[in-house]
């Protein structure tokens, strides 16, 4: 049970760190870190496939996109970074305070989960659900990927 607590706390800490750090590159790395912790939690909640997807897509792909974006945009010189750090801190010191308070408050709240559910349907395998039961979502994903492709083409092809 304690492992869960540690994971939970580290997840929140990683997220807070991503937001608080001054340099953009560090926050992207922080993002990747949160994504890894999330993957571990997912494994704990015995949903491995989702965890793998999370790891490869979020930690990998999205971090790559962000890093390429940062590299394209102009980099901050060192003293600009230092100035930004002080200015960032003046705005973001509030975040950890809120998080702690919220955590304590939420801890007190206990809502009964007395939902009586029917038994889970028989062939409840992920592959089966995606490929056989939810074709509509499949089409949706295909179309949205096409949309993404057309978007990037439209935005950058001149």
């Amino acid at each position: 049970m304690t492992i869960n607590i540690i994971l939970g706390v580290s997840l929140v800490l990683a997220a807070a760190w991503t937001v608080m750090t001054a340099r953009l590159l560090r926050s992207v790395i922080g993002l990747a870190l949160t994504s890894m912790i999330l993957t571990i939690i997912m494994f704990k909640l015995n949903s491995p496939l989702a965890a793998v997807f999370e790891l490869s897509v979020c930690a990998g792909l999205i971090s790559a996109i962000f890093i390429s974006c940062i590299s394209l945009t102009q980099r901050l010189t060192d003293e600009q970074a230092a100035a930004k750090q002080k200015e960032r801190f003046s705005k973001f010191w509030l975040l950890p305070v809120i998080l702690v308070l919220a955590g304590v408050a939420l801890y007190q709240v206990h809502i009964p989960l007395d939902f009586h559910l029917q038994a889970a349907p028989s062939e409840s395998d992920v592959r089966n659900i995606i490929w056989n039961l939810r074709h509509l979502d499949m089409i949706g994903q295909i179309v949205i990927l096409l949309a993404g492709a057309f978007g990037v083409v439209a935005l950058f092809k001149d």
Partner: protein, 474 residues
């Protein structure tokens, strides 16, 4: 008959993007027009009631359902996409640009058709996201700073909306274990008291209100509509936000969160506020498209108000007003496209007296503005009348009076627009302005013909077409 509505555009995208680029690019516009016309014909056939065998059905289990509400939405999607394609063809220069635009329109078409026909909460989220992505890019299509700003704002706010929707879907999953409308509806009804369920309902409604552009959540709408290119703003204002926002709200408030009192009072309040804020903001605008954006917030307010009232007649009024609004709002945006292409600007202070120079645009904008203000012979009046009657019968007298008197405000800012753009003396720089191209004028006249047709034939249509719409309500 339903799945082709979804799959044909997909097929079209795939075929058009095959490597033989030179041929397909010219074809894309005609394919687009063909598809939208086919959709309109299909809806009419469906309405006539012959359910042809769903050839594609056996391969896919899409779980699409279609009742009268979906038919109305499908019809307006067909019409508005046709108008968008015609305007796009006219306003977007360059072969490649136009091809890119057509692809996005096809994606949006699939997204909207899907949203309208599905019966599962999560697929609702997916297809709303599809339409949203298509709209992001359509807004940012011309890559000028304003367009990018509008797109970015829309992304941020649509992301918050999706976060809220997903949280509420997960809570419903917690409660029910299945995300289909029917299951969700029964579960919500049983565990009414549980605070988690209340949070779920609240979050989902707010997500949809953001998508629909109702007042407290409408920040992105003026930026997105006014910055988008002419054709994109027609699609967006006409139908995109309505399907993803308002249609979903109608579907859910009638089936999933079936008429509990508090949801209705929230909708009534939100509707009235958005009518007033939209109208007052529109009065002060000096940019033609921004004024139309605020005007569409105000008109959506009427639909939300009718939804809040909840009775059968009110829902019919809401659906009818949704259909009418999609027609005359896209007509107004088509007119703004015409004015923009011919005079180069949409700043009303620089425009003037285009009435004599652009007769068709003048006549159609007259029809559209009278219909928006709810002046009788046209369609807008009848839908507003039904909403007012429904409100009055529910003794919601204050809301009804505010809604009615707001149409004076609507008339005020539209008269302002007419005076500054069409009705006055010709502005100095616009001496040699000619009428807009044939694409825009045909789109405008089709939409105007529909508005006038619906308006004039309404009494005859009242029993045969309008009343059956309420069949989708239990």
């Amino acid at each position: 008959m339903l799945s082709p509505l979804l799959l044909l555009p997909l097929l079209a995208i795939i075929i058009l993007n095959l490597p033989i680029r030179s041929l397909t690019q010219k074809l894309s516009v005609w394919v687009g027009i063909g598809l939208s016309l086919w959709q309109i014909v299909a809806v009419v056939l469906l309405a006539m009631g012959h359910e042809s065998a769903d050839a594609w059905g056996k391969y896919f289990t899409l779980g699409l359902s279609c009742d009268n509400l979906t038919l109305v939405l499908l019809m307006s999607i067909g019409i508005v996409t046709l108008a968008t394609i015609l305007v796009g063809w006219q306003t977007i220069g360059g072969e490649k640009q136009r091809f890119g635009f057509m692809n996005l329109v096809f994606v949006a078409m699939i997204g909207m058709n899907g949203t309208v026909m599905l019966a599962d909460l999560f697929s609702l989220y997916i297809f709303i996201e599809v339409t949203a992505v298509a709209s992001f890019i359509l807004i940012a299509f011309q890559r000028n700073t304003n367009a990018l700003e509008g797109a970015f704002k829309y992304i941020i706010l649509s992301a918050t909306a999706t976060v809220m929707m997903l949280l509420s879907i997960s809570i419903i999953l917690l409660v029910v274990g299945d995300t289909s409308f029917a299951a969700a509806g029964s579960a919500v009804k049983q565990s009414q008291g549980n605070p988690l369920v209340i949070v779920a309902i609240g979050l989902f409604i707010c997500g949809l209100l953001i998508k629909g552009g109702v007042v407290p959540f409408h920040g992105w709408l003026p930026a997105a509509y006014s910055a988008a290119p002419a054709a994109a703003s027609v699609l967006l204002a006409g139908i995109a936000t309505k399907t993803s926002g308002i249609y979903a709200l109608i579907r859910l408030t009638t089936s999933v969160f079936a008429n509990n009192e508090s949801v209705n009072s929230i909708l009534l309040l939100a509707g009235t506020i958005s009518i007033l804020v939209g109208a007052f903001a529109a009065i002060g605008q000096s940019d033609f498209k921004k004024m139309l954006a605020y005007s569409s917030i105000s008109q959506v307010g009427y639909i939300i108000l009718a939804l809040g009232c909840g009775t059968n007649l009110a829902i019919i009024g809401a659906v009818f007003h949704l259909f009418n609004h999609s027609i005359f709002k896209s007509l107004l945006f088509v007119n703004s496209a015409a004015v923009e292409t011919q005079s180069g600007t949409t700043d009303m202070n620089k425009l003037g007296g285009l009435g004599t120079k652009m007769p068709v645009t003048n006549a159609t904008s007259l029809i559209a503005f009278l219909s928006t203000a709810g002046v009788p012979p046209l369609a807008g009046f009848w839908s507003k009348l039904i909403i007012i009657i429904a409100l009055w019968q529910n003794n919601l007298h204050t809301y009804a009076t505010i809604a009615v008197l707001a149409s004076v405000l609507t008339l005020a800012y539209l008269l302002l627009m007419q005076r500054k753009v069409f009705f006055g003396k010709v502005a100095e720089g616009l001496g040699n302005v000619k009428e807009a191209g044939w694409g825009i004028t045909t789109a405008a006249s089709i939409l105007a013909a529909i508005t006038v047709g619906v308006g004039v034939t309404f009494p005859w249509m009242f029993n045969s077409v309008l009343m059956p719409i309420s069949s989708f309500l239990k």
